[in-house]
């Protein structure tokens, strides 16, 4: 009797195993990339929120923050031009006199243009071939990915391979900008693994300076360094850092402070074109996209708490207070 029972149990296990195998192999929604976060033992607390898809974008910045952000955006014409210029080659040329005069923002934005256009500039023909290949694959993200690549191809159309910086050249550009006084470039260097100084006090001080600056570019540039890259860093233990959620919180804070986080903005374009992280809904801005696709409702609340700590608890710089209240 015993062996017969064992055989039945084994048969049941095999049938279940075969069922799981069949599902994993054939069920379309179980695409390979749907699982790596768990299959790989990833410790992130993020998960897809199906319910979140129905939620309206009601978690946007409050009116005070929005008015500050609008004021700051209006005070940053070069940054606005970087986001909106149809021809980034011409924009970069317009930056040259400012760069020669030592303007830190112009140096930072020139490096942003070079980074934004590098994928196209390295190999314009290859970029077009890749776009055609990707559009032929009928991916979930095909439309958004195609639009992001088209946007880069259009705005960077006059760039040639000689204009494409290597990673080391990009670091050098940002060192120049940081030494000229660009806090965003200094933050970017930390995120690129090439900080101006590499000690505990410097890292803690830099994070404090970025938060106090309320500079959206600096927030966004610092964000990769505040994600899992900061996990276990004693210098950042009492800051918003250490998880993918904290990286996203820094980016959403940048949106609240005036960064262009629209579907056509550089942040979403680079997430999509460089990383394959594309919003399926073309109307979504970055904040809505994160809440929709990256986190469950409780995760969104956690990100909001972190974002509020970054944006609302930091002192406003005097010149911005003057613009808002004046």
């Amino acid at each position: 009797m015993g062996p017969v029972v064992n055989v039945r149990v084994l048969i049941a296990i095999v049938v279940l195993g075969a069922g799981v195998a069949g599902l994993a192999t054939w069920w379309p929604s179980m695409s390979p990339a749907a699982v790596p976060g768990t299959a790989s033992g990833d410790t992130t607390d993020l998960a897809l929120s199906i319910a979140g898809r129905e939620r309206p974008a009601a978690d946007g910045p409050d009116p005070t923050v929005r008015s500050r952000a609008q004021a700051l955006a209006a005070a940053r014409p070069l940054h606005r031009e970087f986001e909106q210029a149809a021809d980034l080659f011409a924009f970069r040329q317009r930056l040259q006199p400012l760069i020669a005069a030592g303007d830190a923002d112009a140096r930072w934005l020139s490096s942003r243009v070079d980074e934004y256009c590098a994928g196209f500039a390295r190999d314009p023909a290859g970029f077009a071939r890749d776009s055609a290949l990707i559009s032929s694959l009928q991916l979930d993200a095909a439309r958004a990915l195609g639009a992001a690549r088209d946007r880069i191809g259009s705005r960077c159309g006059r760039f040639a391979p000689d204009d494409a910086p290597t990673f080391v050249q990009l670091v050098e550009q940002r060192k120049d900008a940081a030494e000229a006084g660009s806090l965003a470039a200094e933050a970017a260097l930390l995120a690129m693994g090439a900080p101006l100084r590499d000690d505990v006090n410097y890292r803690r001080d830099l994070v404090g300076r970025v938060q106090a600056s309320r500079d959206p570019d600096a927030f966004a540039a610092l964000s990769p360094a505040m994600g899992v890259a900061a996990s276990g860093d004693a210098a950042l233990v009492d800051t918003v850092s250490g998880t993918q959620s904290s990286e996203l919180a820094w980016q959403i804070a940048a949106c609240d402070l005036g960064l262009d986080c629209s579907a056509d903005g550089a942040l979403m374009t680079q997430y999509c074109a460089n990383g394959g992280v594309c919003a399926r809904d073309a109307r979504q801005d970055f904040s809505t996209f994160v809440r929709d696709a990256a986190v469950p409702p409780q995760g969104a609340e956690e990100i909001d708490r972190m974002k509020n700590a970054l944006v609302e608890d930091a002192p406003a710089p005097p010149q911005l207070l003057g613009m808002v209240t004046g």
Binding site: M30, G37, D42, A47, N274
Partner: protein
């Protein structure tokens, strides 16, 4: 004979269970459009012998295509995770994700490189993106 039969049966059942489980796991990690990865411009001519920058760009491009297939792209190869990339020539290495938005967002891990085995057809190795593990703490892109 009565005792032998269940043992044989048990053996084959365990074998079938193992094969079924392996198929399930393989269904998760073997990419269904892997054939297309090696046609990407930053991947096509890359191997473990290529300069570091080429490998960064190629691995990041492969990771991007991998995420673009996912209904949850933020969760697919998130920062801190690692994956094994098999280049078109069959050479392979581990890569760590440091950013999901940068073209340099994937960094090869020193010491993980394995040379290509001789291929009868030459260049017929299929490129795969196989998640391995998540590693807390980002790596310096200048490593």
């Amino acid at each position: 004979m009565k005792r032998l039969l269940p043992r044989k049966l048990r053996f084959w059942l365990w074998t079938a269970l193992f094969v079924g489980y392996s198929a399930a796991v393989a269904g998760v990690v073997v990419d269904t459009v892997g054939e297309n990865y090696r046609r990407l411009s930053d991947v096509a001519r890359t191997s473990t012998a290529s300069p570091l920058e080429h490998r960064q760009l190629g691995a990041a491009q492969a990771a991007a295509l991998y995420r673009a297939q996912s209904p949850t792209p933020f969760l697919a190869l998130p920062p801190g995770s690692t994956f094994r990339v098999v280049w078109p020539d069959g050479s392979t290495e581990l890569v760590r994700i440091v950013s999901q938005s940068s073209a340099h967002g994937a960094v090869p891990i020193d010491g993980s490189q394995i040379d290509a085995l001789p291929q009868p057809g030459g260049g017929q190795a299929e490129l795969q993106v196989v998640p391995v593990s998540a590693a807390p703490g980002g790596a310096s892109a200048l490593e």
